[in-house]
Structures are given as structure tokens and as C-alpha cells.
């Protein structure tokens, strides 16, 4: 496949370039303007885009102004009632608080540990593929595989976590059932599961750093710490901004692992906004209200991303 392009290209360039009369410079650009791929190339994408992205967005916005329900009955327009109700709904605020807490306690280690892993692996010690496999492999697992394994680790009587505490003489911990512990347990699982992607982003950034500074530092006799603090970390600032932004957005959208592990419990202390949307819409059948909550949440996400952009722009 690859070999066909260059020779074929030469073959077609040859006569065109060597043609003394006929197509001059002007003629060539004339052809360029006339041809080029048409709308047809974009149409298939635009079709699925319109059907499965634009329509749902518009339709969802409409739903948020109605009392639409999964139950079969007529839908009526209710204006801003859903939005007004959402602002007064204590569950919305609690789940928003849970989401923000989860984002904080998962994003910080997800950025810092990924950075540490990338720095360690980039040091070039032998066994590269082992380290990369170990750190990245969990990212390849479907959520239900991750939750199955960790439910077993967190199992109250026989799980590894409590068995380990037992040998230290510490009583069992209700990893997923204790209100003060569950969110940390879920954050730990999330860090284990998804840190590999940030790790690869950092590793790629490290591999593209110019060598010249290090060579200069070597001549100056700067030690390993000095190189890390004065050369490597400052050059990784833009990457850190990118990784942190993507991570905050990803953490805000948490749903899967929490829904499977605790269904938002104990006592709703881990329930994120998106699970509340799901509960209201699919369990409570109130699609209109669920849409209103998810649009408010979308607005929240947009505000957070704009704030982050400003923050990082000032930093840079």
C-alpha cells in the first residue's frame, strides 16, 4: 500500500512538470480551484452528525421545557418549570457537590501520579515495556471488569484490602458502605483504572523535549534534582495544563463506576449529577425534568472549561 504512492506520484508529476506548453502556472492553479473534493465527501458524516448529535441536542432542549415522560401520555409544554424546580431541588445540589468532590480527589492524583510515572519511565531504566504495560493496561479494561475486580478487593470479609488490614491488627473497613470512606475508595479505583492515559500523554511530551538543555546542564554539572526542577518540569507546563483540563472534564462526567459499585450510596453520598439524571429520567420516568438537569449541568461544564482556559492562559 505505502509503496504505491511515491512511484505513482512520480509518474504523474513527471509529464505534467515537463510539459513545456499547454498548462502553465496559471493553468495549474485554475484546475486546482475548479476541482477538489466536493460536498459529497462531507455528506455521510453530516448525515449521522445531524441525526445523532444535532437532533438529540435540539430535541433534548425542547424536552427540558416539557413534562415528557417515559410513560405513555401526552406531553405538555411547561416553560421554565423544570429549571425552576431543579434550582430548588436539594438532590441536584447534593449530587453536584458529590461530583465536585469526586473531581477534586480524583483529578489531583490522576495528574500527579501520571507525571511521576512518566518521569520515572522516561529515565530510561531497562524494562520499558513492562512499566508501560503495568501502568497502561488498566485503561484498556471495560468498566465492569474494573468494578468486578475491585468489588472483590473491597469485599468486607474476604477482600484483599481488609485481609491486609487484619494482619496489621486493624478492624475491617466498609470500603463501599461507609459514608466517609466510599468516595475515597471509588477515587482510588478510578486512579488505578485511568491514570495510564495521562501517563502516555506525559511520556509523549517528555520524549519530544529538546535535548540541548540537558546537554548544557550536564556540562554545568547540574544534578538530577536540579535538572528535574529547572529544566523538565518548567517545560512540561503546557502539557500539564492540557492533561489537567482534560482530566477535570472527564472526572466531572463520572457515572459508570459509581453507578455499578454503589448505585450512588451509601445514603446518596457518592451519587454524581449524571446518576441523578439517570435516576430521574429512566427510573423515575421524568424525561423532561432529567433533560433540564442535564442542560444545567452542561452549562456548568462549559463555565468550568472557560474558567480553566482563562486560568491556563494567564499562567502561560
Amino acid at each position: 500500500m505505502t509503496t504505491t504512492a511515491p512511484p505513482g506520484a512520480e509518474a504523474v508529476t513527471g509529464p505534467a512538470a515537463g510539459r513545456p506548453h499547454g498548462l502553465g502556472r496559471k493553468g495549474l492553479s485554475g484546475i486546482r480551484a475548479a476541482k477538489g473534493p466536493g460536498l459529497v465527501f462531507v455528506l455521510p458524516f453530516m448525515l449521522v452528525f445531524a441525526l445523532f448529535l444535532v437532533w438529540p441536542i435540539v430535541h433534548g432542549l425542547w424536552l427540558s421545557f416539557t413534562d415528557s415522560s417515559l410513560a405513555l401520555r401526552a406531553t405538555t409544554f411547561v416553560g421554565f418549570d423544570n429549571y425552576a424546580e431543579a434550582f430548588g431541588d436539594a438532590d441536584v445540589w447534593t449530587s453536584l457537590g458529590n461530583t465536585v468532590v469526586f473531581t477534586a480527589i480524583s483529578s489531583i492524583p490522576l495528574v500527579l501520579i501520571a507525571l511521576a510515572m512518566a518521569l520515572l519511565v522516561h529515565s530510561g531504566l531497562a524494562g520499558q515495556w513492562v512499566w508501560r504495560l503495568a501502568f497502561f493496561a488498566p485503561y484498556l479494561l471495560p468498566v465492569t471488569v474494573v468494578t468486578s475486580i475491585w468489588m472483590w478487593l473491597y469485599q468486607p470479609d474476604l477482600g484483599l484490602a481488609n485481609q491486609f488490614l487484619d494482619t496489621l491488627g486493624i478492624g475491617p473497613v466498609g470500603w463501599l458502605s461507609d459514608e466517609s470512606v466510599a468516595k475515597w475508595a471509588i477515587a482510588a479505583l478510578t486512579v488505578w483504572w485511568t491514570v495510564g492515559f495521562n501517563f502516555l500523554l506525559y511520556l509523549a511530551a517528555l520524549q519530544s523535549l529538546p535535548q540541548t538543555y540537558y546537554e548544557a546542564a550536564a556540562l554545568d554539572g547540574a544534578g538530577a534534582w536540579r535538572r528535574l526542577w529547572s529544566i523538565t518540569l518548567p517545560q512540561l507546563r503546557r502539557t500539564t495544563a492540557l492533561v489537567a483540563m482534560l482530566q477535570v472534564l472527564a472526572s466531572l462526567k463520572v457515572f459508570d463506576q459509581i453507578y455499578i459499585l454503589t448505585k450512588g450510596g451509601p445514603n446518596g453520598t457518592t451519587r454524581p449529577v449524571l446518576e441523578y439524571v439517570y435516576d430521574v429520567g429512566f427510573t423515575g420516568y421524568r424525561l423532561g425534568y432529567a433533560s433540564a438537569v442535564s442542560y444545567l449541568f452542561f452549562a456548568f461544564i462549559v463555565v468550568v472549561s472557560l474558567l480553566q482556559l482563562r486560568l491556563f492562559r494567564q499562567e502561560g
Binding site: 504523474v12 484546475i31 462531507v42 430535541h59 433534548g60 511521576a116 524494562g127 484498556l140 465492569t144 484483599l160
Partner: protein
């Protein structure tokens, strides 16, 4: 966007231990020992859940349920795997996952490369507007669409069909954007030459542009495949029929039924994890590089 988003340049191989390591760490012995210890500790922590799961899956149900810190508590047995495979659900779900992730990848790559090429080279009216709308839509979180999409599937009578699982997943504006950026960097001269020779636009795309873009197209394909294989929420909502479920969804439904049988639970989790781990081992270099090539990678 960042140091990672340099599409065309091929990534250097991982540093050769001698040269770059000394530039990075200096010549002292202590830093090297400390780095080694930290790497080993982190690796053990990250592999421990796998090791524990594998050990449990190779125990009988009784042994797995007896206390103790050693993961191996009795004779090794593959009984848990045999029971799961006999039940047959998991092979059915694995087939569904392959079919669905394969279809999603195929359609997404076809539709997105065509569109990206059209946006990159096209001169048709409305190109800028359509491109701007596509790029802006990257910000929309997919979860926002769940409720209206479900209503839409009810309307089309598509709930509990493969089409309902596959179609909403093929819209990948991010991938169109990544591909377009790559196409923008390919010199136009090759295509123009072919055009002068009378090749059709589609021909130019197939025989010149695509072959030149293999690294980025395979990177996009790998990430779309991983994303589709692991997608949970949408297939979970739109399928109730156990025969249509993907692996992640199927596993979630059996959890409640025999969640107490940890040997079986671990065996099925590991069987479900296996396909992508194998894919990773085969395409390790490509996957690692594709995160860098695409700048962002997954969804």
C-alpha cells in the same frame, strides 16, 4: 495545542538507556537506584489487582471464599472458567462486542476520513460553517444526549437492535478534527498531479491520500475501537435483550446473580479483559505512539 500535538513528526523510539538516561538522571548512582525502587513499587501496586484476580479465578468456589492473605488458598483449578464458558453467555457477549466495536470502527473511520478530507481540501460552499459546527460540538458531553437519543430510538423502533447500539457511536467530531489537521499537513502537489492526469476525486483520496495517512488512520481506528469496546452507558440503556448485550453490559447484569462466587466473577472479568490486552500486546508501539500522534487520543 501542546507539545504533544505535533501530528506529522514520527516519535522517537524510547530513550536508549545509556545516552539519554545519563542526560536525564546525571551520572550519580543514587538517583538511578531510587528511580528503580520507585518504579518497582508502583508496578507492583498497579499489577496487584490483576495478580489477585488471576489467583482467585484459579481457585474452587470454597477455597476462594476462605479467609487469608495469600491469594492461593487451595489446589489450582480451571473449574470457574469451565463453568462460565459452559453457560455460554460470555462468548455470545464477546461476539456482540467484536461485531459492534468492529462496525462502529469501520463506519466511523470511513465517514470521518471522507469528511476530514472534504473539509481539508474542499472548496464547496458552506464548508467553513459546517467545519465550525463540527469542531464546536466536540465540547458536548455525550451523556447530554442519552435521554433524547433514547426517545429517538423509541421513535424509530430501534430499541434492542444492533443499529441502536452502533449508529449513535459513529459520530466522532474529535476524530474528524484530528484527521483534518493531519490532511492539512500533507503537500497538495501529489494530489494535484493526479488530478491533472484525470484521476477522479475519490480515486485521489483512495490511492494517494489514504496510503499517506496510514499512521493517523490506524491511531484513530485503535482509539475508536477501544472506546466502542469499553462503552458502557449507551449499550446498557438501549439493550434489554441479553442476546444483544456487549461484554461490559452483560457482566454488569450477572454480577447480581452470582456476585458471591468470586472465583467465577474473577474468571469472567479476566476473560472479558483478555481481548484488548492481547490487542495491546500486539500493537503496543502503535498504541503508545498514537496517543502522541493524535495529541489527544480517546474520546
Amino acid at each position: 495545542m501542546s507539545a504533544t500535538a505535533t501530528p506529522l513528526r514520527p516519535l522517537r523510539r524510547p530513550p536508549r538507556a545509556a545516552a539519554e538516561s545519563s542526560l536525564f538522571l546525571g551520572h550519580g548512582r543514587l538517583p538511578r537506584v531510587l528511580v528503580g525502587i520507585a518504579l518497582v513499587v508502583l508496578t507492583i501496586v498497579w499489577l496487584l489487582p490483576f495478580v489477585w484476580a488471576i489467583a482467585t479465578s484459579l481457585q474452587s468456589a470454597q477455597d476462594a471464599a476462605s479467609p487469608g492473605l495469600s491469594p492461593i488458598k487451595g489446589a489450582l483449578t480451571t473449574g470457574a472458567y469451565e463453568q462460565i464458558l459452559e453457560r455460554g453467555n460470555i462468548t455470545r457477549w464477546a461476539l456482540n462486542s467484536f461485531l459492534i466495536a468492529g462496525l462502529v470502527t469501520l463506519i466511523t473511520v470511513a465517514v470521518s476520513t471522507l469528511a476530514a478530507y472534504g473539509f481539508s481540501r474542499g472548496t464547496f460552499r458552506g464548508r467553513r460553517v459546517l467545519l465550525a459546527v463540527t469542531v464546536a460540538s466536540i465540547l458536548v458531553p455525550p451523556q447530554l444526549l442519552i435521554v433524547p437519543l433514547f426517545k429517538q430510538m423509541l421513535l424509530f423502533h430501534l430499541v434492542d437492535t444492533y443499529a441502536a447500539v452502533v449508529l449513535p457511536q459513529v459520530v466522532a467530531p474529535m476524530m474528524v478534527f484530528i484527521l483534518k489537521r493531519f490532511f492539512d499537513a500533507i503537500p497538495r502537489e501529489l494530489e494535484d498531479a493526479a488530478r491533472i492526469d484525470g484521476a477522479s476525486e475519490f480515486r485521489v483520496f483512495l490511492s494517494i491520500v489514504l496510503p499517506l495517512s496510514r499512521p493517523i488512520v490506524s491511531a484513530v481506528a485503535i482509539f475508536v475501537f477501544i472506546g466502542a469496546w469499553n462503552n458502557f452507558l449507551w449499550p446498557f440503556i438501549v439493550t434489554n435483550d441479553a442476546d444483544l448485550m456487549t461484554l461490559p453490559v452483560g457482566l454488569a447484569t450477572v454480577k447480581d446473580v452470582y456476585g458471591i462466587e468470586y472465583a467465577q466473577s474473577m474468571a469472567s472479568a479476566l476473560l472479558a479483559a483478555l481481548p484488548l490486552i492481547v490487542v495491546y500486546l500486539f500493537f503496543q508501539r502503535r498504541i503508545v505512539n498514537s496517543v502522541a500522534t493524535t495529541g489527544l487520543g480517546g474520546s
